[in-house]
Amino acid sequence: MNLTNGAEAVVRVEDGVLIKERVPKSYRLKELDERIRKERTKAEARLISEARRAGVPTPIIYDIENSTIKMQYIDGIALKHVIDDDLSEQIGILVAELHAAGIIHGDLTTSNLILSNDKIYMIDFGLSFFESSVEARGVDVHVLFRTFESTHRDHERLIAAFCRGYRKEFAQADEVLERVKEIEKRGRYA
């Protein structure tokens, strides 16, 4: 089963194991290409593990080999199909924990949040990185709000619920949420 085919990786599931492989880019010099894919694969696996250590449910890593990660396949339903105020508040708590641990997800959408056995899992750390700036956190939250706006009718209530959860767990929440408003005005990251 092929799940997604982004610009960077192909993802398939075999016997309950998710296999994510970064594909070679022939426009890049082979040596450079291999280095980048290897570095990013390693970094992604590390970020997934660090996030879990910070209290955010993420897939368990089974194996890393060159530019391929084998990890737990989270069998559940994407939050975009089931989101409500309560779940949105829980997302706020998770993102707060992630940010407090110095991690930026980089692609927070309701498709990358999976509800499985009453637990919300965060997946796809392909664009994640370590950073603690208000700007990076603001962009992270902004991207999520954009998916609320483009796919959910009650987005204003969902945003309010998210902010409740985010504030609960994160001392710098107000500063970040203030920056989100500013980023919105810039009209970037569409």
């Binding site: 610009a7 426009y27 890049r28 010099l29 040596e31 450079l32 980089g106 970037r188 569409a190």
Partner: protein, 339 residues
């Protein structure tokens, strides 16, 4: 679309005036500021523009006259309002205001980055591209979406051309650095690992430039130039590919002076081929900074009522392309293209 517009470009080193109508460029006269040594000195560039402004404007009017277009046929004056070097922008804006007042026609303030995109859409078959705009000062990936050109990725520090120039200066090569770096790169034999900095969709070149300079200590000029190019171009092509995947568009347009590099074109061509996208490069005169692109976007804006009063024609050295209300593309453009 109808009309004849005189546009003046002068954001950096090239001062260029052009007259266009909806069919073609009628006339264009340019004069480049060439620093005797080193890079562009903003004040000297502005003095150059002040000295030659009347020369390029008179020249372009004369050239147009020979083709049967008089000054009285001009419907509007456009100028590069930003982004660019403040002193240069102010000089060009002054010339444009004077012209608009003396000919008694409207004034149009043009965003320089968007002029690169629009001249590419005009002079190539591209209709709705992801644009990679790489020049001395700017490095951006742009695409149209819902009334604006959005910046999908951009440099967080210096432009790619500027990174080449900085390196070239420390390496004792002349200015601009790009063409010489390309020349040296052709005779390289080794790749030297250099920092590859893509942060999400954004890019950073200043560390790469510094690392390339440091690598000269233990490596040949050829190998360093080659490795610098390979690393920097892979970064911009990656972000361009991501923007393609994200927007679902299937055209790539290359713009800006760095676009003259053949290796960059080759890499973009390979990437587009693999994704089934079309790749477009305008002819050389429309790639670097030129008056025609300012006149052409001026025409599009004039035609869609996007003009400014002289009182509100301040220049903006940090003018962002996503601040511009895109009046010249119909609101149903995307729906029409999808159906």
């Amino acid at each position: 679309m109808k009309g004849t517009v005189l546009g003046i470009e002068g954001t950096a080193w090239n001062l260029s005036a052009a007259i266009v109508n909806e069919k073609d460029v009628i006339a264009e006269v340019s004069d480049m500021y060439r620093p005797p040594t080193g890079g562009i000195h903003p004040r000297e560039a502005a003095q150059h523009h002040a000295k030659y402004a009347s020369y390029v404007v008179k020249g372009v009017l004369e050239e147009a006259k020979q083709k049967g277009v008089d000054a009285s046929d001009i419907d509007a004056i456009s100028f590069s309002q930003g982004p660019g070097l403040g002193a240069c922008l102010r000089t060009v804006a002054t010339a444009a205001r004077m012209l608009a007042i003396s000919l008694d026609v409207p004034l149009v303030g043009v965003n320089h980055c968007l002029a690169h995109v629009e001249v590419g859409r005009w002079k190539t078959p591209a209709t709705d591209p992801v644009t990679l705009y790489v020049s001395g000062a700017n490095s951006q990936v742009l695409a149209y979406r819902m009334g604006r050109y959005r910046v999908f990725g951009e440099t967080l520090d210096i432009g790619l051309g500027n990174a080449f120039d900085k390196f070239a200066r420390s390496a004792g090569l002349g200015h601009p650095g790009g063409p010489q770096i390309e020349q040296f790169a052709r005779n390289a034999s080794n790749y030297i690992p250099l920092p590859y900095v893509v942060k999400g969709m954004d890019l950073s070149f200043s560390g790469l430039s510094t690392a390339a300079t440091a690598a000269l200590k233990d490596n040949s000029m050829e190998d360093v130039c080659y490795s610098f190019q390979e690393t920097a171009f892979a970064m911009v092509v990656e972000v361009t590919e991501r923007a393609l995947a994200h927007t679902g568009k299937n055209e790539v347009l290359l713009a800006g002076g760095v676009g003259a590099n053949m290796r960059l074109r080759e890499m973009l061509d390979i990437m587009c081929n693999e994704r089934g996208a079309n790749f477009y490069v305008p002819e050389k005169r429309f790639m670097g900074d030129n008056g025609a692109m300012i006149a052409y976007l001026g025409l599009l804006m004039y035609d869609s009522g996007n003009v400014i009063d002289v009182e509100n024609s301040h220049v903006n050295p940090n003018f962002r392309p996503d601040d511009v209300d895109v009046t010249w593309i119909p609101r149903d453009f995307e729906e029409v293209r999808q159906s």
